[in-house]
């Protein structure tokens, strides 16, 4: 049942960027929906998507985009059902798992080449390395992330050596001693706990042989193959917006906050963005543009999932990722934008 | 030659089985009632009078035997709205006022009769007044005394206009005077509209006064002991009750009942 539809399109046949035809072609795709990873949280690629919309980049490229607030992994289901055409995925894992379950989707860009998913312990904890986790209680949200399972495995343990327990999003389970360690996002819980005056320490699986990535943009393959320019230009707008978001963090957060009808914690989100931006910058290769993803990145993720028995068979990177769109919008590390149009104005 | 019987009960038996309790209610009952006749069922408590009445009315099915209502099964007779039923308990609907309870027979099966409840309203109110309930037309059943509830049940049957009246101890909760008054009212309605009445009672005097025939049943398991024709002139009057013949009938029926009682 391998019905992958993300074969490379012959890009010579596509109308040129900035041309009337291209705008018309993009517009002919109609309204496209993008689902965020978690409401209007300031994570990539959501912050970029919202800003691209706000800054008018989508309009400029002839894209009619609706941004729908999502809830974690659910975006992949909407994507698979083509209820949305593009969605944010926290880690490559979600895309790989979905593909393993028969979803025809792939990741077309990944912002962070390291993970935000990590383990948090209290500063005075006696846990310093994976081996110290033996027999300890680890709290997780929903399910233990694959990178943590991999970290245990790389250090001669299995999940049976620890006691996993699903907890809510309240990190005080850690500070109150209910769990010895807590799976967290580097950009979120440490900040929350420090704000409460707690001293905490991060145990990063990346430093123990289990590196992951974050901030994936995923597409529905079938739809993408029908609308290659739309996907390409969508990604282009996001990466253009990234420049703004990176340079104007506070303004960017304001924009997100305005989008949110509901509660919004600007400080927490600013922190989230600052931390994740730092991770993006720190992990990015100098020759490649922001959002670049590599085969190795995806293969190591797939291997982790296979080892952790989350997926049943190994998946080739071609089945889960597609760099064609990145290739089309980058010249080296330089984003191809609309120079003539800008000049004309 | 005998008149063709209208209600024909042939060798009917009925047994109730419920949770280990097996009760023979009726054994081999045969009975014919001519059209337009007034027949009373009389017999000791628990002998199966209500059961027989309900079988005639098609409300309970006999175990064996046949019931024929002018060539129809009881179900078909029901369908053609042949019955007005006065149950042993008044069966008034607590969420309906007295008048609304009276209107029930007209609301049901409207298509079959083309009648509407509204049309009959005045008539029904008059009927209620005639049984002494003029002040309680819009009262709910809970606000009525036992006898008043019973009178609503009777008036409801009078009002409904069906040709066969099945009445199960309709006057049991009424005082003598009211009972008498309503008895004569019943006789009037019966004669005027040529109804056939099957009337269950414990009151021998009442049975003789009203009936063409009194069916005496024996104690459980119910069988028919004797059927007595009452050859008294109609219309029956109060004076008639003083007559010797009247008293003779009473004595005869009482004797039969006493004889049957197994004490």
């Amino acid at each position: 049942d391998e019905q992958k539809t993300n074969e490379t399109v012959d890009r010579q046949d596509l109308p040129a960027l900035g041309s009337e035809e291209r705008i018309a072609l993009n517009a002919s795709a109609g309204e496209i929906s993008y689902m965020t990873g978690f409401y209007y949280a300031a994570s990539p690629p959501d912050i970029q998507a919202v800003l691209a919309d706000e800054l008018g980049y989508f309009d400029e490229l002839g894209l009619e985009v609706t941004i729908i607030p999502g809830l974690d992994a659910e975006g992949m289901k909407f994507l698979a059902a083509n209820q949305v055409q593009l969605a944010s995925s926290g880690t490559p894992s979600q895309v790989i798992q979905s593909v393993a379950q028969g979803a025809d989707i792939s990741g077309i860009a990944t912002f962070g080449a390291v993970g935000t998913s990590a383990l948090l312990v209290m500063e005075d904890s006696d846990i310093y390395e994976p081996a110290d986790l033996r027999g300890k209680t680890i709290g997780y949200h929903g399910a233990l992330p694959a990178n943590l399972i991999a970290m245990l495995q790389h250090n001669g343990m299995t999940i049976d050596n620890i006691k996993g327990v699903s907890v809510g999003y309240d990190p005080t389970v850690l500070s109150s001693g209910k769990v010895d360690a807590l799976t967290i996002y580097k950009s979120n819980e440490p900040y929350q706990l420090e704000k409460l005056g707690e001293q905490v320490r991060i145990i990063d699986p990346g430093q123990f042989g289990a590196e992951t990535s974050f901030g994936v943009l995923a597409v529905n393959n079938e739809w993408a193959s029908q609308h290659p320019t739309v996907v390409e230009d969508f990604l282009r707008a996001l990466l253009k917006a990234h420049e703004y978001a990176a340079a104007n963090a506070e303004q960017a957060i304001e924009v997100l906050a305005k989008r949110s009808d509901t509660l919004y914690d600007k400080e927490a989100e600013l922190n989230r963005w600052q931390v994740e931006l730092a991770l993006i910058e720190q992990s990015r290769s100098a020759e490649l543009g922001v959002g670049w993803q590599t085969r190795e990145q995806w293969e190591r993720e797939a291997q982790m999932l296979l080892d952790a028995k989350v997926i049943a068979r190994s998946l080739e990177s071609e089945n889960v990722m597609n760099n064609a769109f990145l290739e089309a919008i980058y010249e080296g590390s330089e984003l191809i934008w609309l120079p003539d149009l800008n000049a004309a104005q | 030659m005998k008149h063709l019987s209208f209600i024909e009960v042939k060798e009917v038996s009925k047994q109730y089985r419920q949770r280990d309790q097996m009760t023979d209610a009726l054994i081999n009952i045969s009975l014919s009632i001519e059209k337009g006749k007034f027949v009373s069922l009389i017999g000791p408590s628990g002998c199966g009078k209500s059961s027989l009445l309900r079988i005639i009315g098609g409300l309970v099915k006999q175990d064996c035997g046949e019931v024929n209502i002018g060539g129809m099964t009881p179900m078909e007779a029901q369908k053609r709205k042949q019955y007005s039923f006065v149950p042993q308990s008044p069966a008034l609907f607590p969420w309906r006022t007295v008048l609304q309870n009276m209107q029930l027979p007209f609301e049901v099966n409207r298509k079959a009769t083309g009648d509407t409840a509204k049309q009959h309203e005045l008539e029904l109110i008059e009927l209620l007044q005639s049984v002494g309930l003029g002040d309680f037309i819009h009262a709910y059943p809970r606000m009525l005394s036992g006898g008043m509830q019973q009178r609503v049940g009777i008036a409801r049957a009078f009002g409904s206009g069906a040709p066969i009246l099945l009445m199960d101890e309709p006057f049991s909760a009424l005082d003598e005077l009211t009972r008498e008054k309503i008895s004569y009212q019943l006789l009037n309605i019966w004669q005027e509209h040529q109804k056939t009445v099957v009337f269950v009672t414990h009151n021998i005097r009442e049975a003789v006064l009203l009936s063409d025939e009194v069916v005496i049943m024996s104690p459980r398991p119910g069988r028919i002991k004797k059927t007595i024709s009452i050859d008294l002139p109609r219309p029956r009057t109060v004076e008639l009750e003083e007559s010797q013949q009247f008293q003779q009938y009473i004595t005869e029926i009482r004797a039969h009942l006493r004889q049957e009682s197994r004490v």
Binding site: K77, A81, T262, L263 | E107, S160
Partner: protein, 278 residues
């Protein structure tokens, strides 16, 4: 009548004046006891928070919750309105479907045995788990939330209506049969009014279940409604806000429950339960 009977128990030596006034103003009032209850709960809670020095992230003081609620009143009302709308529509839909199914089941024992297991299946399926599917199937609008609220509402309503349709007085049933009332007529004239006490009993339960359903529905694929507020507040660990939203939901639930009770009193005047207790 039951009222008078209650009185009959009152043959007692004359009481102190104070006790009498207490009785008149408190015991008989339908306003003070609930108020006292709420105040009691709030005070206990406030005290507990103060005495045990509970972290506001774990459990905020009710006074803080109230302050937050008052300060952002418009915000909460705006979101409450969304949830209210979904819940009420869902409740009505669930009630309607339960009613129709109950009617069908009342008319055919075979269909009852066929449909009831499906209803049980719908009831025992944890809707929270499949809520996202609803959004996938029915989009991001109001519909999936309404449907979730309806599914949650539906089952208690169905079970109680079946019970109500069934437990009719045999004398009433027999009387209608003697009139050759059709099944439909028996239903309208007897089963339906007879089931009303049961239906209201279920409605009082379901009206808050429907609110819960709407809240669950709002957890994904929506950016408004109190369910969404709760989710966000929980993620930002703004427990005080979360409780303010829950407080708003509680007010909504109490208002809806009281509305049902009001209608019940109007409709069930003829039922024994409507006279005062013992």
């Amino acid at each position: 009548m039951a009222n008078d009977e209650h009185e009959a128990r009152g043959y007692q030596p004359p009481k102190a004046k104070l006790a009498k006034r207490f009785k008149r103003f408190y015991v008989r009032s339908s306003f003070w006891p609930p108020l006292a209850a709420f105040l009691g709960v709030f005070l206990l809670w406030e005290l507990a928070v103060a005495v045990f020095q509970i972290n506001p992230i774990t459990l905020p003081a009710p006074s803080d919750v109230l302050a937050e609620w008052v300060n952002s009143f418009n915000f909460y009302v705006k979101h409450a309105w969304v949830t209210f709308y979904e819940a009420v529509l869902g409740f009505l839909l669930g009630l309607g479907v339960a009613f129709v199914m109950g009617v069908i089941m009342a008319h055919s024992p075979v269909l009852e045995r066929t449909l009831l297991p499906i209803a049980v299946l719908a009831n025992v399926t944890p809707i929270m788990a499949i809520a996202p599917l609803f959004i996938i199937w029915f989009g991001f609008g109001t519909l999936p939330k309404v449907l979730i609220a309806a599914i949650i509402t539906f089952f208690p309503m169905l079970i109680n209506s079946i019970m109500g349709f069934r437990s009719v007085d045999e004398n009433h049933y027999e009387y209608l049969r003697s009139l050759h009332a059709s099944k439909t007529e028996i239903f309208i004239k007897l089963r339906l009014p007879n089931s009303l006490p049961y239906l209201f009993s279920a409605a009082k339960t379901c009206v808050s279940l429907s609110v819960m359903g709407a809240v669950v529905g709002e957890w994904s694929g929506s950016s408004q409604g109190l369910g969404n507020v709760i989710m966000m507040a929980s993620n930002y660990m703004q427990t005080t806000r979360m409780f303010a939203a829950i407080f708003m939901l509680a007010i909504m639930g109490i208002a809806l429950t009281n509305f049902i009770r009001y209608v019940e009193r109007k409709v069930l005047y003829w039922h024994v339960s409507s006279s005062s207790w013992n």
